[in-house]
């Protein structure tokens, strides 16, 4: 599955650690929520970037105390239609101020890119290579947005008031 970051297809820097596998030092590692929570204090003191893979049916508030120590949170889309992680992403960005990388994993297709970016994701494990290749084009599809979200884009309502009467061009 190709990984897209900054609009480019990139190599994943993170080592995906099994729940019973060893976690080598000084290697960026991604662990499950279960493993992380069982041993969070020790894991965040370890030498090396740490990432957590968080399920979409667990309250993201549980992760809040540790966010300052995490380089990446990976959220899940078990199915295209299952949009719980959009709420988790916005909560992470807007309520808890998470500034690390936010990765979308699972059933990630081109027609979600716009929503994912707006919800605060900046790393995408894309299911189909063809979709990954057109990421930039799909991401730039909408020049107007109607609501404030985690991407900080200015919604039409505010642009109208700011530029009262001027055309968006």
């Amino acid at each position: 599955m190709p990984l897209v970051e900054n609009g480019q297809i990139v190599q994943d820097r993170y080592l995906h650690v099994e729940d019973d596998g060893p976690i080598p030092d000084r290697v960026p590692a991604i662990v499950s929520a279960q493993r992380f929570l069982a041993n969070a204090d020790a894991l965040v003191r370890r030498d090396g970037s740490l990432a957590v893979w968080w399920p979409n049916d667990r309250r993201i508030a549980e992760l809040a105390p540790w966010l300052g120590h995490l380089a990446l949170v990976a959220l899940q889309f078990p199915k295209f239609r299952d949009g719980r992680a959009y709420s988790q992403a916005r909560l992470l960005r807007e309520t808890y101020g998470f500034g690390g990388t936010l990765r979308a994993t699972g059933d990630v297709l081109r027609d979600q890119f716009h929503f994912l970016i707006r919800a605060g994701f900046d790393s995408f494990e894309v299911k189909k290579p063809a979709d990954a290749r057109v990421f930039a084009e799909a991401a730039a599809r909408y020049s107007v947005v109607y609501q404030p979200s985690a991407d900080g884009r200015v919604p039409a309502l505010r642009r109208r008031v700011q530029r009262a009467g001027t055309d968006p061009g």
Partner: protein, 552 residues
């Protein structure tokens, strides 16, 4: 009438471009039907029994003549010369070709219309009282707020993949003409003790397999907070609504399982965190949206001009129409005219391209270029000068749109049922047609008085049968069409769900049963003129049950 600006037009153009690309990928085989399905659904495209169906939103039921003419053109060019108005202020075209859909959508976009979010698990078309802005009992125009919410939830990054669809309705009168309590969320503008206006917020209504009426979770929400509160409700639902079972995925189940109080608490906690953030509305934003609503330049006229009284005396047909189809307007000298789309033997809600074009002409000449669409599947001309009523009546009569059965037994609300819908268990339209034949005598209809029949072809309840005074639900029994009959439902400010009267009856007997119920009512009602719904309330369904099943 909300007029699109450059932002709205741009977004729509970008949406059409995206859909064009998706259709091209489907036609080339790059997308499978399964992959294409959620994408087309987000644009209001369903695959039905015979063809693709396109559902177009008519936000808060307001149409300009430009838009109505465009709908007529779409009907002619891409469909079979007619469209079907639904119970949620949408219009559907049932015979459209996939390859032509992007062009049809581009044409619609040229008049500020679209099918975005008329299907899929997102926030659906925002509906209101179809008399919004003209009703005498309204405290302010709810469409300003409906438009603010419409924009806010359009292509919302967080709420485009919720557990199920989400329907929002708004009202601003003491009389509820928007069926508020059968919606996932409803907002009612009212005045509090201090004289400020704000919203009563109700959640968890919905019909279908498990019908519930919405419960109030916030009696008074300041207007500045409406977007943040909607956001908090949707966020709570998106995270905690059930996704394991499609029949339990609507917000009504979450509200019911948690209890309205616990649900309200979740929402409140979320809302406190966001209410003073970017979603707090400042008056300039509201004024901006309000300024895009165009109101007619009414003349200064008096109510009840003398020529009107004379016309009523002179022509009994006109007098009947006045009594049945014409309602008060908040501006003196004007009236609201309802046009019944329920002809004898016809399909409830169908409107031909010819009628649409004619209606657009009438609206230009008599109603400041505006038409309304109501959830009862009828249309209205919202700003007619009372002195013009006789002339308008003659013109409407000539094209079959001056029927005087509004709110009577043949003003039937019906879903498309098995004639079109792939989910149906039974036919709805022929049942409606048969009932309108049986009760074609207007004197009998008038004697029966206000009586709403609602028909759904399956438990999804698109015909809102639970809230019909007489509700008719198609079910399947051993491969045959049967119908359950309920009595006593209503969707107004005293919303109630109907009560089942007994075992389902076969297709051929439904109209007989309705006749039996009507006959029983005429015997049971208390003089003078107790309404059907009040007789059912007073006596319960028992006497009707006896009457219906005694002979069967």
């Amino acid at each position: 009438m909300y007029v699109y600006d450059a932002f709205d037009r741009r977004l729509l153009a970008e949406r059409v471009a995206e859909f064009r690309d998706q259709v091209a990928r489907r036609l080339s085989g790059e997308l499978t039907e399964e992959e294409f399905k959620p994408l087309r659904l987000m644009n209001g495209v369903y695959l039905q029994l015979h063809a693709y169906m396109l559902r177009i939103a008519i936000p808060y039921g307001t149409l300009s003549t430009l838009q109505l003419r465009k709908l007529a053109e779409i009907a002619r060019k891409y469909d079979r010369g007619y469209g079907h108005f639904t119970t949620r202020q949408n219009i559907q075209f049932h015979w459209i070709k996939l390859a032509e859909l992007p062009d049809a959508m581009a044409e619609l976009a040229s008049v500020g219309m679209h099918g975005m979010q008329t299907s899929g698990n997102n926030v659906r078309n925002i509906t209101t009282d179809q008399w919004a802005g003209v009703a005498p009992d309204e405290i302010e125009d709810p469409r300003i707020w409906a438009e603010l919410i419409r924009q806010h939830v359009t292509l919302h990054p967080e709420f485009s993949f919720m557990p199920r669809k989400f329907k929002i309705a708004l009202g601003a009168s003491s009389r509820d003409r928007a069926a508020l309590r059968i919606h996932d969320m409803a907002l009612r503008l009212h005045r509090n003790a201090a004289g400020e206006t704000g919203f009563e917020v109700m959640v968890g209504g919905g019909l279908g397999r498990t019908p519930y009426l919405a419960q109030t979770i916030k009696p008074f929400l300041p207007k500045r907070d409406v977007l943040s509160y909607v956001e908090a409700v949707l966020r709570t639902y998106n995270q905690f609504g059930r996704r394991d079972n499609i029949w339990k995925a609507r917000i009504k189940i979450l509200v019911h399982d948690l209890g309205a109080e616990a649900f309200a608490k979740e929402v409140e906690a979320e809302w406190q965190g966001i209410k003073d953030g970017a979603l707090a509305l400042d008056p300039a934003m509201v004024a901006e949206i309000a300024s895009r609503f165009r109101y007619p330049d009414y003349e200064k006229l008096d109510d009840s001009p003398p020529q009107l009284a004379k016309a009523r005396r002179d022509d009994r047909g006109f007098d009947t129409w006045m009594a049945n189809c014409v309602a008060n307007h908040k501006v003196p000298g004007y009236a609201v005219v309802t046009l019944s789309l329920k002809p004898q033997g016809g399909t409830p809600g169908d409107c031909t391209a010819v009628q649409m074009d004619k209606l657009a002409d009438f609206a230009d000449r008599y109603s400041f270029g505006e038409i309304r669409v109501g959830h009862e599947q009828n249309l209205a001309l919202p700003h007619v000068a009372q002195r013009d009523l006789p002339a308008l009546w003659r013109e409407l009569d000539a094209i079959g749109l001056a029927q005087t059965n509004v709110n009577l037994i043949t003003d039937i609300i019906s879903c498309p049922g098995l004639d079109y819908c792939s989910l149906a268990n039974a036919r709805s339209i022929p049942i409606a047609q048969e009932i309108t034949q049986r009760f074609r005598d207007l004197d009998i209809q008038r004697d029966l008085g206000r009586l709403h029949i609602n028909i759904s072809g399956c438990i999804n309840a698109c015909g809102h049968h639970h809230v019909g005074h007489i509700g008719i639900l198609g079910v399947e029994k051993n491969g045959e069409e049967f119908y359950q009959i309920t009595l006593g439902g209503k969707a107004d400010e005293n919303a109630t769900l109907g009560t089942l009267i007994g075992p389902a009856v076969p297709y051929a007997q439904v109209a007989d049963v309705v006749e039996d119920i009507a006959a029983a009512y005429l015997e049971l009602r208390q003089p003078p003129q107790e309404l059907f719904i009040d007789t059912v309330k007073r006596l319960g369904v028992e006497p009707f049950r006896e009457r219906v099943y005694a002979a069967r």
